[in-house]
Symmetry: C6
Subunit: 221 residues, 6 copies
């Protein structure tokens, strides 16, 4: 049973790409943000490196809160839960860094994630995107799941040539060297914030009524 894309654009859920001994795989990241007192929970049998990635993503967002139109006090007024489903499968490595960053920004701003976008890349504390392994296998999994656009670290550009021809033809590639490019590509910022806010969101605790200071990305193949 191959993994499949989400049925609609959702808030706080991002399609990541994982690489195991048996090939590439879709790995969803889910984030819930609720009113609380600053507790962070990380579940899904995450290894130490992946847990560190989650904390790096949170610290990065805190340092950019103003720019992202996120209440800078969210770290103490909310509880944040980051989960990678299929909880019995151990997961590790830094390459879900951009995925967790995007899911967190989506959950904290209420901006939905484009369901047809998948991504992979290590994030640093200052928002740089570092290269990852298994690009060939990961993009194959993305293609099979029906993904249209994959976000890939800029330093992985040379690895593109190893990718299967069919996969290469059918996917848009966005090369990112920083988190800005990732967020602009994956998040569905409304032309007008008012439009975004028509439909009430299920999660609470975060104001999301101002358009973030990022331009909508132009995705080119």
């Amino acid at each position: 049973r191959p993994d499949s894309m989400l049925k609609k654009n959702e808030v706080g859920v991002v399609t990541g790409l994982a690489w195991t001994s048996v090939g590439g795989e879709i790995m969803m990241i889910e984030v819930n943000v609720v009113k609380g007192n600053g507790k962070i929970q990380l579940t899904g049998s995450l290894g130490d490196v992946m847990k560190e990635s989650a904390n790096i993503a949170i610290s990065y967002i805190r340092s950019k809160a103003e720019k992202l139109k996120i209440d800078p006090d969210f770290y103490k007024d909310c509880d944040i839960h980051i989960h990678a489903p299929e909880g019995a499968v151990p997961k590790d490595g830094p390459s879900a860094g951009v995925t967790m960053t995007t899911a967190l920004v989506s959950a904290l701003t209420g901006v939905p994630v484009r369901r047809e976008v998948a991504m992979t890349g290590e994030i640093t504390l200052r928002g740089r995107v570092l290269p990852i392994g298994g690009l060939k296998e990961k993009t194959m999994a993305a293609y099979r799941a029906g993904v249209k656009t994959v976000i890939v670290p800029e330093e992985n550009k040379p690895d593109i040539e190893e990718i299967d021809e069919t996969v290469k033809k059918n996917l848009n590639f966005v090369f990112a060297d920083d988190a800005d490019t990732v967020l602009k590509t994956a998040l569905l910022f409304a032309t007008e914030p008012d439009q975004l806010l028509k439909e009430p969101l299920i999660h609470s605790g975060v104001d999301r009524n101002i358009k973030p200071a990022l331009d909508t990305a132009v995705i080119t193949q």
Copy 2:
């Protein structure tokens, strides 16, 4: 001595289904919610994945508190204890996710659980129900214990054909792809909330005087 069903519909106790090397088994989940200060206790020799399932269930319910008519501050005004009896038997895996979710919602709302319903399924942070293993053995155990209805992840539908014919004939199957379906099937929502509240409950700390925004499920074989 085969495990048996509860003698009456209770609040905070749900019949789960476990799968061990020697076959399927009934595995009760008990939840106590009392006034407190936000402590969560997990007992019953639970492994790490199962403990994570419990925390995922709690986070999911927090994100849906309003819809479920649960005071969203329950996480800090109550102490929650989740227990899987037969405390010396080690238990693990994500497939008690729906069972713990249901027991928690029952304990937090005061709505009793249908004693003749058993269930199995992984829960995600956003309430999706993911497939599990051992369906054949688990449903056999449910049948032997006298269960009438089993709730099964929708993605496990193809595994139905491996189930014993007698078991298949004697059990109602409810396929769930999200927590809503599980809760509607298992919880005994009163036609009128007033009716529900006639009998005072033993646990305290949670208002339960409004009918949740879920319709009673229609169970079809």
Copy 3:
């Protein structure tokens, strides 16, 4: 040197029954409750399962506080220490659940425990009593120590036939399927609460001036 019974009825001390590779044994459980701020201490080289039993016992009592005439705030206004003497001997398993429950209720209410009663049984979060192993050896140890009445899980009834004839003739058996039966059998509730309170107790921090809502058990052989 065989273990022996207490010399008089005491508050907060209950005679349990343990089962080791060399036979059955008396295992006392001692509980001290003092004014404090909610700390729970468990000592006596207790294993993880036995520590969980202690926490299950405390949660159960919290959920029944009103019925047991115990101040429901005891969990935050008292410090509770549960100890199993002979501190160098490792102890584990769930079968001291009823013993710890009884010792806690005694310490929290000030009601003395009948010194001639011993007990064994797993407790669940909702107060059900589950079966245990080693009944033959445990009852032999009870008999040798001079115990008159043993409380045994109802589901262990079939194991009675394996018990030594002399032991069976000389002990009263009380079969319990829930904590109520255990407490009614082991605690020495006064006919009149005023009578109970004549003699001041050494421990403090808990009001114990109202008769609990349990009837005195009638013990039949």
Copy 4:
């Protein structure tokens, strides 16, 4: 270099007796009590059982605070440090229970300890004194160090016959079945409290101006 007794009666220092593979030994227990906020520190390479003994001793004293004329709030207004010198030598077992109890009561009341008394025995939460091993070796060490009186658990009476004749002739034996007997024997309660308080003590944080409700022990050979 054999261990030796203290040069004068001190507050908060008690001579214990330990038993190792190479024979008996003097093992001092030192206690400092200072104004603080309830922190308990245990040092001297203590094993888990010995750390539990320390906590049992503290809980026992809390439950008897009024009788011992100790401010019952000491557990939250003081910091307590219990140390067993020769910090590199691992130490374990429950038999320093009475020693730690005595050192704590001395430090908390300001009553000095008789320097010529040594002791060994497990303490329970209710103050019972349980038997220990290695009595022959321990008393030999006490005799060599110049100790005059040893306090021994009452249940160890039968082991007296194995003790070396010279040791037996030169030591007073006090058999204790509870902590009261230990404290009355080892602590130097003044005939008049005023007398005790002439000399200011170095430690602070605890009132010690009322004579405890224990009679001075009469030591008989």
Copy 5:
């Protein structure tokens, strides 16, 4: 793909030098300081010794806060995150002490770091710089990455002769025996504080409007 220098002078990012079994390497240290409540996070698969280095750097800066024009309350009013990118690569040892100290001072004062400077050296609690290993390999990596100046512990002066001739010719060497020399060499203190503050910084929570009491270092080959 050799590591490369940053593209511009940044705040809170410093180029360190690491030594592995396969040669020297550039190892960036990133620091984020945001308003918070005193939490310290250390990520990047850091070993115990390297984590201790980070805490030593923070303590050193706290003891020099006044001199460095840093609000001495930063330890409780900010959250500090120190990260070493390439999160899956385990890193350890004390030789990033000066790098972390410099990145912290930069982040806390808002003073940018000279991008063409790299450094290595253990820091002590009092700011002394202690010698490190692998100087030959580390300076080779610095040279290859385009670094112009390397800061080296004074006690490593004798090791200079083992360095490759080309490397020696193309790098400026600054020998430091204390943190002052390191900070003066690496931080880009403005001639006039007003000049420094023209460009608003992305991180917040720290006033940085006074010129620190350190003179700009004169770098000599």
Copy 6:
């Protein structure tokens, strides 16, 4: 490269003596005390016994605060960091007890330490100094580093005869049986407190304007 003495008398830095498989060594102890909220940090790859020594030193000083003219609230108004440089070298054992005690008293009072004094000895909670091993190797290291006076536990007096003749001739030996002797020998108490306070100290958070109640030691060979 042999270790060397400090270049001047400093506050909070004391020269200790360590003993490893390859001989004796100088081991500095550095202490920083800053305003804070009672956090204690111990770094330098310290083993459990050495960490306990640090806590014993702090407890001892708390119990003597008044006599040492130290604000007794320092434990909750300051943060204390104790570090043993050369952070990658594992260190353990109780023999740095006196060194840590002296460095702490120096940092807390602002009284400088005589740079030409080195020391070794276990400290107990009541300030007794216990014997240590490796005296021959430790004093050799002291002599080579240029130390003038070594403080040695009184119970190590018999080991003096094993010390190298040249070492013995060139070092002053001070035998200490308690912490008082150590502090009087190593700390540079001013004849007049006013004199001491002329030069402002770099660390803050502690008043140090009263002369401690210890006499300056007379060092005799």
